[in-house]
Amino acid sequence: MAQALDPAIARSNLPGDDDGQDRASERAFRLPVLGLVGVIGAVVIAALISATQGAAGLPVGGVLTTLLDAVPGISIEPGLDTRQQAILTQIRLPRLVLGLLVGGALGSAGAAYQGIFRNPLADPYLLGVSAGAGLGAVLAIGFGLDLSWGPFGAVPAAAFVGALLAVSGSALISRGPGSSPATLLLAGVAMAALFSAAQTYALQRLSETRAREVLSWLFGQLQTNGWDQVLLLIPYVVICGTILIAYGRHLDVLRVGDAEARALGIDPTRSRIVVVVAASLLTAAAVSVSGLIAFVGLVIPHVIRLLISHSYRVIVPLSALGGAAFLAFVDVGSRTLLAPAELPVGVITAFVGAPFFAFVLWRGRQVPS
């Protein structure tokens, strides 16, 4: 190989070092398996802690045997009594799964927004998307718009409309003359303020009990009523999550600029629309079951980028898994920190995320998107 190259380059191929260089070259092309294993491990640990900890402690062994027993084709003696089994399957598991799905949705949507806007500080909450979705959902819930077509209900649909309005607004403002990366976030602040004001107005028009219900949901709660919320969320997470993971490659290509992206075989405008719609739909679905949960979509992709990879084909799926693990952990805190009272998960993610956001801003040198 080396003799075919220019002498200047051939010089760098010291004899006897070919193996080492080939290994280095191979290593560079390997996928970050270690990172993937680590994040999956975090999901499993978070799930186990979440399933066993709470007002009624459940033994880890009992939980595992009960879960194994539920797998078709496997039959072993469940280590939990009937009451414990009911707690596990009707209260703990639905809530755990909901936390994993919402966390995964927000994590991957945040990663996708960061890629599209080429801005490492983009996040569904900071872009005003959550507020837009929240307004749509408040209007739908508050005024009893209770239509549904199979798993697709009016609340997520209204939330989706609000989310798209907000993200389009932020994107439009940030494209104005004299815009900088900070403009997008300030536009998000403006959109969030506008939509929050509209929410407050809508809440005032509701009866007091109804308003309190809606308000407690808005804080960001993982409240479940059996498996209903999980079933509502699953189709959105599966469809939009798959789309975002597939488009992670497009997000990488877009980083070399639109012209080169086209030369590499991608239609930049189409890719942007697909990703923004999928991420907004995912955010809207998450918001309509769990209210406004901030900063998951900011913190998790940042951590993945710092520890594992800068490529969106890695960041998007691992942010989904990381967001799932993070929200499951946070939910354990939400249920146990002030037990028997419950601390909304949105409050805890803000306590963690706001200082993180502040630190990133303070450091100034942004982690490159």
Partner: protein, 283 residues
């Protein structure tokens, strides 16, 4: 090497292994690409006014001309990045896509945080299937491209830490990973010193011979263009002024006219050289 990229195209070129001027007897394999009456207008300004060109298989065509002549616009039109009238077609009549033409841009954007390996893998985008996951084969092709450009120890380096010459080689590696039969280079060496310019161009020439690629490159330096290209196309003011072998195109009167400065064409050690006419001091 022949087992690697483009082995199917490499066979008829094997053995043509010298650097510098290509052998005139190297056979060409039909037309690789043709442009018919290609026009580009920006508002009222006509950047390209009906250019006819053809590129034979395995040929290196150099686009020369002063700044603002339309070289980059023509490259953009051929690669489909710039809307144009007229026809750009492959030898078999198809419209070219990202699998047919690979582009090495003039000033590539280097994304912060991206590794060389990830950057070169972007070249595989047009070949990916469902879910856009690259296969083991895609990674092997990208790794081969990295090795062929002598970047095997750079795979894990962040692209923004590379020197100009290294970055240029990386961009060529990405184009190579694209496995397109036509390579477009937009002033590939404009930011490099003389040594690195020659290194990159000789590398491109070698890859062209091994893989049977056809190359179109916009070039600034006329003597370098004469040395590397089989044919030259001289463009000025969006019009094709002349095309043919370097000897046919590089004529002192014509060049002096187009570049609006007195130029002279000399043979030095068998190479065509275009030089500015020395002005006498104190004249």
């Amino acid at each position: 090497m022949s087992a690697d990229i483009g082995a199917d195209r490499a066979t008829d070129r094997a053995g043509a292994h010298t650097t510098g001027r290509p052998h005139p007897e190297v056979p060409t394999n039909g037309v690789a690409l043709s442009c018919r009456d290609v026009r580009v207008t920006y508002g009222r300004f006509e950047a390209l006014g009906g250019v006819d060109l053809h590129l034979d298989g395995g040929e290196w065509l150099g686009l020369i001309g002063p700044n603002g002549a339309g070289k980059t616009t023509l490259i953009g039109a051929i690669s489909g990045l710039i809307d144009h009238d007229g026809e750009v077609a492959l030898g078999d009549g198809r419209q070219p896509g990202a699998r047919d033409i690979a582009l090495v841009p003039q000033s590539p954007l280097l994304p912060p945080g991206m590794t060389v390996a990830e950057y070169v893998l972007l070249g595989r985008t047009a070949h990916l299937g469902w879910l856009a996951r690259e296969t083991r084969e895609d990674r092997r092709i990208a790794a081969t491209a990295v090795r062929r450009l002598g970047l095997q120890t750079f795979g894990e380096r962040i692209v923004t830490t590379l020197s100009g010459g290294e970055a240029q080689r990386m961009v060529v590696a990405r184009a190579l990973a694209q496995q397109a039969p036509v390579l477009l280079l937009d002033e590939p060496t404009s930011s490099l010193d003389l040594g690195h310019q020659v290194t990159v161009l000789e590398l491109v020439d070698e890859l062209r011979r091994e893989d049977g690629l056809s190359v179109i490159s916009a070039m600034h330096d006329l003597s370098t263009a004469a040395r590397f290209c089989d044919r030259l196309a001289l463009i000025a003011g969006g019009e094709l002024i002349a095309q043919g072998t370097p000897e046919q195109v590089l004529q002192a009167d014509r060049l002096s006219n187009v570049y609006e400065t007195p130029l002279t064409v000399r043979h030095i050690d068998g190479e065509l050289c275009v030089l500015p006419v020395a002005r006498r001091r104190n004249a």
